[in-house]
């Protein structure tokens, strides 16, 4: 054994020495292809190929043309680009993309992976956070890569070298070319830096090298803004991480989904996160005197706060507060004395008396975000509802969603977070995503949808003046306990941003109808949002009532009838559903949403031809609709029309390569068509991507230990500080237990 080890040691040293010698000679190379090959040959010799021979980036997906290592020096750095693109550089330097790797917020998590499983596993995260480190072969135990590029994260020539996209599975689903800032007269890429004069002489050739049409598409963003945890990372199975691209695709802004509750203009990720604006610095990339922001403003206030990037921080806060992203509606009251819903507030007069127990129903609409609230890694962020009731003297009568002196959020706040758990039923803290086996709780508001949050309080007996009731949605990047994990307990409080709020003053005594606020939705939409919230909370009777109010106010609104039909369909009242859907289709005969749900009713009632005809019309209007493709595939399958079914499911898989129903049905169809290998492949994909039926037990373990979260996970929960005995008296059908 000792002899063997000594020999191994000698070989290792000799090998390392040869490698070093080769590195020296490589420096003299001037042919970029030969230089890359020599570099790659050297890196390959000591690279940890744990995930397969020649496999560079697994468990991530980042790839580069030539499928081999590339020298970090092949990437012109950002200061080179700055010469002509000062505005882009200035934006980028403070943006998340340039700080995608170096921040403590990221490093704390990825370092745990590095220390516990090995640096080779970090290729999963760094395929997006530091692709140059992955593709240069730097993420291996004996790294000989100068990591000076770490501070630039995603530099100009990472994004602007992407030549094609792999799929929309994410995890770094791009293919880089060898970075080039010029093409020659034949269109061939010229690797590396070229003199600025040459670019100025041939700006068209520069543009051809650094721009691609698909850079303007959401699919480009999907390469990294969609992620999963694959088996090589977690030694378990495929687990969905975040799907912000899918969320956009299902939103009204994609124009690809016929089933959205509202419609809106086609809007890409870039339209919101890279808006055009004037440039104050030298910027040759301007068009019509405007330039697309390279700040990618979104929700991250932590990075600019830590790095003291004041402009980025101010602009991020302004971005969060800027639009009509959310609508907060103090929609209704329920009083213990009458048990009736007083709604919509503002339009309906009512009275209040001291000592009365009151429930306020707050409807929060994700009105104009093209994805969920809060998107992506919801375990790290903190979005929540703060609800306050104050007397006329400023006395606090009720407060939910406060920040405690130690910076922690009120644990019983209504929050838009999640709780992924491991096999011990413990919250996966510190973003150790490779240990996730289940999600105990996941509270969000998807694009275009609404949530109903209930707060209950008692008016003090001595209260004479008005009550000021406020609901606000706050956001903090990041969750306080995660910040504590990063910095210890002695860090400053990170910014809390109010995204949206609504206040109403309630008189003790008479409350007449009042004019709406300029930001208020019209009443029909307020009822509609309530109905949507009820629908998502599986309260069909209440949803149906709310939608009925919509069509009373807007009898011309086809979607109002569709919503009633949808509610009845989910309630399995197909005859009632048909009536409402027929009414909708009489108002708007080609409305795809109506046709889609009508097709499902037809299926239930055995009218296959009508079912297929309706779904075909939907697919014609919305060829990228996952739901329509899936259902039409099912329809064909049930009619033994396997070729047509196969086409639909293959199209569905092209839209979303991770769609479980596509894997399942294609496995069946291929088998029936005698294509055994393809069937086996789809079957394997289905089994790894489907939800593990054993996983919920870990969620239950967690919920048992965390009653505050357990209550939150019940859709109709009520937030209250009224003592239990009072609560059991119940207000309205929706009450039944509470938490402050």
């Amino acid at each position: 054994m000792i002899r063997f080890t000594r020999r191994a040691g000698f070989v290792t040293v000799a090998f390392a020495a040869t490698l070093c010698f080769s590195l020296r000679t490589a420096q003299a190379q001037s042919d970029p292809t030969a230089e890359r090959k020599q570099y790659a040959d050297q890196v390959r010799q000591t690279y940890n190929f744990r995930f397969g021979d020649g496999v560079i980036s697994v468990p991530g997906n980042a790839a580069v043309e030539g499928n081999d290592f590339i020298q970090p020096g092949a990437f012109p750095n950002a200061t080179y680009c700055k010469h002509c693109h000062e505005q882009a550089y200035s934006d980028w330097r403070q943006a998340l993309h340039s700080n995608s790797f170096r921040t403590p917020f990221y490093r704390t998590s990825v370092n745990i992976l590095l220390r516990t499983k090995g640096i080779e596993f970090t290729r999963h995260c760094d395929s997006c956070h530091n692709p140059i480190a992955v593709l240069s072969g730097g993420l291996t135990q004996v790294s000989q890569v100068d990591r000076k590029f770490d501070k630039d994260g995603l530099t100009c020539t990472t994004c602007h070298s992407v030549q094609r996209l792999q799929s929309t599975s994410g995890n770094g689903g791009f293919v880089l070319g060898v970075p080039a800032v010029m093409v020659d007269e034949n269109g061939n890429r010229i690797p590396g830096e070229v003199p600025y004069e040459q670019i100025m002489q041939h700006p068209d050739r520069h543009s051809k090298a650094v721009m691609q049409g698909f850079y303007r598409t959401p699919e480009f963003c999907a390469a990294c803004h969609k992620a999963n945890l694959p088996n090589p990372l977690n030694d378990y199975k495929f687990v969905r991480a975040f799907t912000v691209f899918d969320e956009w695709q299902n939103s009204k802004f994609s124009k690809r989904n016929p089933l959205t509750f509202y419609s809106g203009p086609f809007t890409t990720c870039q339209d919101c996160h890279m808006p055009r604006g004037p440039s104050t610095l030298t910027e040759y990339g301007m068009k019509d005197n405007t330039f697309r922001s390279h700040r990618w403003m979104a929700g991250n206030t932590a990075v600019p706060y830590y790095y003291d990037f004041k402009e980025q921080l101010d602009k991020t806060i302004a971005f969060l507060k800027s639009g009509t992203y959310l609508n907060v509606d103090l929609f209704a009251l329920r009083k213990e004395s009458s048990n009736e819903m007083i709604a919509p507030l503002g339009s309906t007069p009512f009275t209040l008396a001291p000592q009365e127990k009151v429930q306020v129903m707050v409807v929060i609409q994700n009105k104009n975000i093209g994805h969920s609230l809060i998107p992506e890694v919801r375990d790290l962020y903190e979005g929540w509802v703060e609800f306050t009731v104050q007397g006329q003297d400023g006395r606090e009568i009720y407060h939910s969603g406060f920040i405690k002196p130690d910076g922690m959020l009120d644990p019983r706040a209504h929050s838009f977070t999640n709780r992924p758990v491991n096999t011990d039923g413990e919250f996966v803290d510190n973003h150790k995503v490779w240990t996730i086996h289940s999600v105990a709780y996941d509270n969000t508001v998807q694009a275009g949808r609404s949530v109903l949050v209930r707060y209950e309080f008692r008016i003090p007996p001595d209260m004479k003046g008005p009550l000021t009731v406020t609901a606000r949605v706050n956001y903090r990047h990041l969750r306080q306990s995660y910040l504590n994990n990063i910095f210890g307990m002695d860090h400053p409080l990170y910014p809390v941003v109010e995204i949206a709020s609504r206040t109403r003053v309630l008189n003790i005594g008479a409350n007449p109808a009042a004019a709406p606020d300029e930001h208020d939705n019209p009443d029909w939409m307020r009822w509609n949002n309530l109905g949507i919230a009820y629908l998502d909370q599986v309260q069909y009777a209440e949803a149906s009532q709310a939608f009925s109010e919509v069509v009373k106010l807007r009898p011309d609104y086809a979607d109002g009838y569709i919503n009633i039909g949808l509610t009845n369909m989910l309630w399995e009242k197909y005859d009632s559903a048909r009536g409402s859907l027929e009414k909708a289709l009489s108002l708007s005969p080609d409305i795809a949403r109506g046709l889609y749900y009508m097709a499902l009713v037809e299926r239930r009632q055995g009218n296959s031809d009508k079912e297929v005809a309706d779904l075909k019309k939907v697919v014609e209007q919305y060829p990228f609709s996952r739901d329509a493709r899936r259902e039409l595939g099912v329809s064909y399958y049930q009619l033994y029309r396997y070729d047509e079914a196969r086409e639909q499911f293959e199209q569905l898989q092209a839209i979303d390569p991770d769609d479980v129903s596509a894997h399942y049905n294609l496995a069946l169809i291929y088998r029936r068509m005698g294509m055994k290998d393809k069937a086996a492949e789809q079957s394997a994909q289905f089994w790894t991507k489907k939800v593990d039926p054993g996983a919920p037990t870990y969620s239950l373990d967690f919920l048992k230990k965390h009653p505050e979260i357990s209550t939150e996970s019940v859709p109709w929960h009520v937030h209250t500080d009224v003592p239990d005995d009072d609560v059991h008296a119940q207000i309205g059908s929706a009450s039944g237990g509470g938490q402050p």
Binding site: G9, A14, A17, N111, Q141, S143, D146, R147, K148
Partner: protein, 166 residues
């Protein structure tokens, strides 16, 4: 170096390295690995290949990187130590004393100071901490032409070290 290698179970290096070192350029012998920053990155900052010595102890350890180029010597010293609590950072901070200049966005806190010209060398020092881990980075050289860039080199090296300590 032989001592460090033995300590890490790389005892075989004590036999082969001298032999190979005689046949190859000095910079091309296999070096121990510093857990907080690799030799290539320090070499990049010092503009040439470096040798490294790593001396661990129970609370952390030190790494010493050296580059020689004729009469010029360039060195980076990295010290990492685990403290009982962040309050124990004071003695480390005192190493810069009144010359300390706050470095933003490195670790929980970090300070840089010019150690001046001593023993024919210019030196720049950073002291800082990540949670309860203190670090001290010194960049030294007798090459006067590098004097003005020592500050930036010290910051770049420190950012790497602080990053891995998170």
């Amino acid at each position: 170096m032989a001592y460090s290698a033995k300590r890490f179970g790389l005892w075989f290096l004590t036999f082969e390295v001298p032999l190979l070192a005689a046949l190859l350029p000095v910079s091309c012998v296999a070096d121990p690995i510093c857990p907080w920053i690799n030799a290539a990155t320090v070499g990049g900052a010092l503009e040439g290949k470096v040798t490294v010595a790593f001396s661990p102890d129970k609370d952390g350890g030190t790494c010493d990187f050296v580059r020689t180029n004729g009469e010029f010597v360039y060195g980076v010293h990295v010290l990492v130590a685990t403290m009982q609590s962040p309050a124990d950072f004071a003695p480390y901070a005192a190493r810069c004393g009144s010359r300390a200049e706050l470095l933003k966005a490195i670790g929980n806190e970090a300070y840089i100071c010019d150690l001046g010209f001593k023993d024919k060398q210019n030196a720049e020092q950073v002291v800082g901490r990540v949670r309860n881990q203190a670090f001290v980075i010194q960049v030294k050289t007798n090459d006067a032409s590098m004097r003005t860039s020592l500050h930036d080199k010290a910051v770049a090296i420190t950012e790497q070290v602080a990053g891995i300590l998170f």
